[in-house]
Amino acid sequence: MTTTSPTVPRPAGAQAARRPSGGKTRRRTPQAWLFLAPFVIFYLAFMVGPMIWMFVASFFHTSTVESGLGQFAGVENYAEMFAREDFWSALWHTLQFTLYTVPPLVIIAFVMAVLTNRAVRGQWFFRLAFFLPFILPSATISLIWVFIFTPKTGLWSLPATRLGLDVGNGILSDPRTAMIGIAIATIWWTIGFNFVLYLAGLQEIPRELYEAAAVDGATPLQQIWKVTVPLLNRTTGLVILLQIIASLKIFDQVYLMTNGGPGVSTQVALGLITVTAFTDNRIGAASAASVLLFLIILVIAIIQQIVTWASTKREEVS
């Protein structure tokens, strides 16, 4: 996941910074393209080019076995995707995953950050504990959680039986619970990112606000609810949208933990795309599925832009 939010660290002496667009720097510098060439060449070759090719190939019966685009297919690939049950179920599983992971990833991360921020000592320890899993490779976290979810001897069976849940053949081998298992592993894996964003947001809230609230007799819980939560609204918005986009492109942990199974009960969009492209060798159909996934992500990104724009507008007014 590569994402960026609008704030960027300032170098020393940033106060003296001046927009280079002003005054003397206005003259045109033709050598600019020499600086840009390496990036732009890679950008065209490995981003823009493949993107265009993907759109074109989605209208052809392209395959890996023969060279070229193959026979023209019109909208057949798209029609096929819309008619395929496993395409819709892959989208549904993605939505399911989003619904399972987003609320805990927002709420638990928030609780972790607030409590860590208030902890009197040992903050470094809590930061380490909550953040460490985030840097682990998907291969590592999948191995660990498959082991934890092992029926009977796995660590998960201890609290699960305590809670009266039937462990059965293991959470990952039951079509009804496999996605929950993947969601739990993912929450554990990625929460550190949200935790750090919240922690940074908390640091920017002036303490005077809490003091004023305390003077007015607000309890700590009221302070959190009336001061912290509203002031972190922007962070929460960012966290939710990044999480939704991250959910749309999950693949690693699903492939490594269940390989989409049992049956196709955990198959997600990228899983379907890789199977179509590299097992069935149907590049054209897989391109159509990729284009559809791309359009979904595009719509969400545009919504995010509108929301950001609207909230900045609101802030400017107030």
């Binding site: 590569t2 994402t3 960026t4 939010s5 960027v8 660290p9 300032r10 940033a14 910074a17 280079p20 206005r26 510098t29 600019a32 600086f35 840009l36 390496p38 950008y43 981003m47 493949p50 090719w53 993907m54 392209t62 890996t64 609780v111 921020n117 009197v120 903050q123 470094w124 930061r127 504990a129 909550f130 899993p133 840097i135 682990l136 490779p137 998907s138 291969a139 590592t140 191995l143 498959v146 934890i148 001897t153 660590l155 922690l199 940074a200 920017e204 003091e211 700590p220 819980l221 986009i245 749309l248 492109k249 693949f251 490594l256 890789t274 492209a277 590299f278 990729s290 992500i297 595009l298």
Partner: protein, 307 residues
């Protein structure tokens, strides 16, 4: 635990733009003086969460040092009765290809990092300092592509690699990973903040733009270059999907993709599986230990994370 200690200075260092709480500012009393039961409850919740988050890693590490019989034993033993053993690691490492995969991961991740930082810094500098036709359009394009996840493009990228004869090569793994629009954007924003006066004098003296970038701008940008490099490296090391698609030859697999192929061969060899999990993560844990502050600061201030 004292009720009036200011926020740990370590954290304020990790997050910039935070006014370090001075000792005089122990007027925090009003905020800290929550009733004792509430404070204890808060601490208990925090401790339980920390325990829950550490347990999987600790348990996996512990298991990797047990023998196979004990790793699968029920009830779970905390301290192995037969003592700790390195047998699982010996078995995994003698699995012929593991050192090779680690080497492949290191080479490709280092190459991705070097190329990405170099081309992104050059482009970021041009976008920040130089004026040329199409500048605004290029900035818009780069910002727009930040939201597009590279995973969307695996199908056309694989086809491209097939035509370039780069399937099953290092370059096939490396090249598609070096296009990092967010990194260009982050570097551009950073360069924007560097006072132009510093470069002006050098320009007057007839220094070339490249020289100015190398000897004035880049040294001032060390922290952000470091953060970008760390994130690119972590992203490349952890990348599973792309190497998994573009490499079939087991001699060329990276550690995460290679390990995946032997897991099934081991079956229920839990200690060996956990030894693999630890080995795949080890280089990253080392990177994390050294650069913890930069990593956390990088996320907090820019929201970047590896791909």
């Amino acid at each position: 635990m004292s009720a009036a200690t200011p926020t740990s200075p370590a954290l304020s260092k990790a997050v910039p733009a935070v006014k370090a709480p001075t000792l005089a500012a122990t007027g925090t009393r009003s905020r800290r003086r929550a009733p004792a039961p509430a404070r204890i409850l808060a601490f208990v919740i925090l401790a339980v969460l920390a325990l829950a988050w550490l347990t999987p890693v600790l348990w996996a590490t512990l298991t990797s040092f047990k023998n196979e019989a004990e790793a699968a034993a029920m009830p779970v033993t905390i301290v192995p009765e037969n003592g700790f053993t390195l047998q699982a690691y010996v078995n995994v490492l003698s699995e012929g290809l593991v050192p090779r995969w680690a080497w492949n991961s290191l080479i490709t991740s280092a190459a991705v990092t070097l190329i990405t930082v170099a081309i992104s810094a050059l482009a970021g500098y041009a976008l920040s300092r130089l004026r040329f036709a199409g500048r605004q359009m290029l900035i818009t394009l780069i910002v727009a592509s930040i939201m597009i996840p590279g995973q969307i493009l695996i199908v056309p990228l694989f086809h491209l690699m097939l035509n370039l004869n780069l399937v099953d090569t290092y370059w096939g793994i490396i090249l598609p990973q070096v296009v990092a629009a967010p990194m260009v954007f982050i570097l551009k924003k950073f360069f924007d903040q560097i006072p132009f006066e510093l470069e002006e004098a050098a320009l007057m003296d007839g220094a070339s733009r490249l020289r100015i970038l190398w000897s004035i701008v880049l040294p001032l940008s060390r922290p952000i270059l470091g953060a970008v490099a760390i994130f690119v490296f972590i992203g490349a090391w952890n990348n599973f999907l792309w190497p998994f698609i573009v490499v079939n030859d087991s001699n060329l697999m990276t550690l995460p993709t290679g390990l995946q192929t032997v897991i099934s061969a081991y079956g229920i060899q839990y200690a060996q599986n956990m030894a693999q999990a630890v080995l795949a993560a080890l280089p990253l844990i080392v990177v994390f230990m050294f650069f913890q502050r930069q990593i956390i600061k990088g996320i907090a201030t820019t929201g970047i994370a590896g791909s």
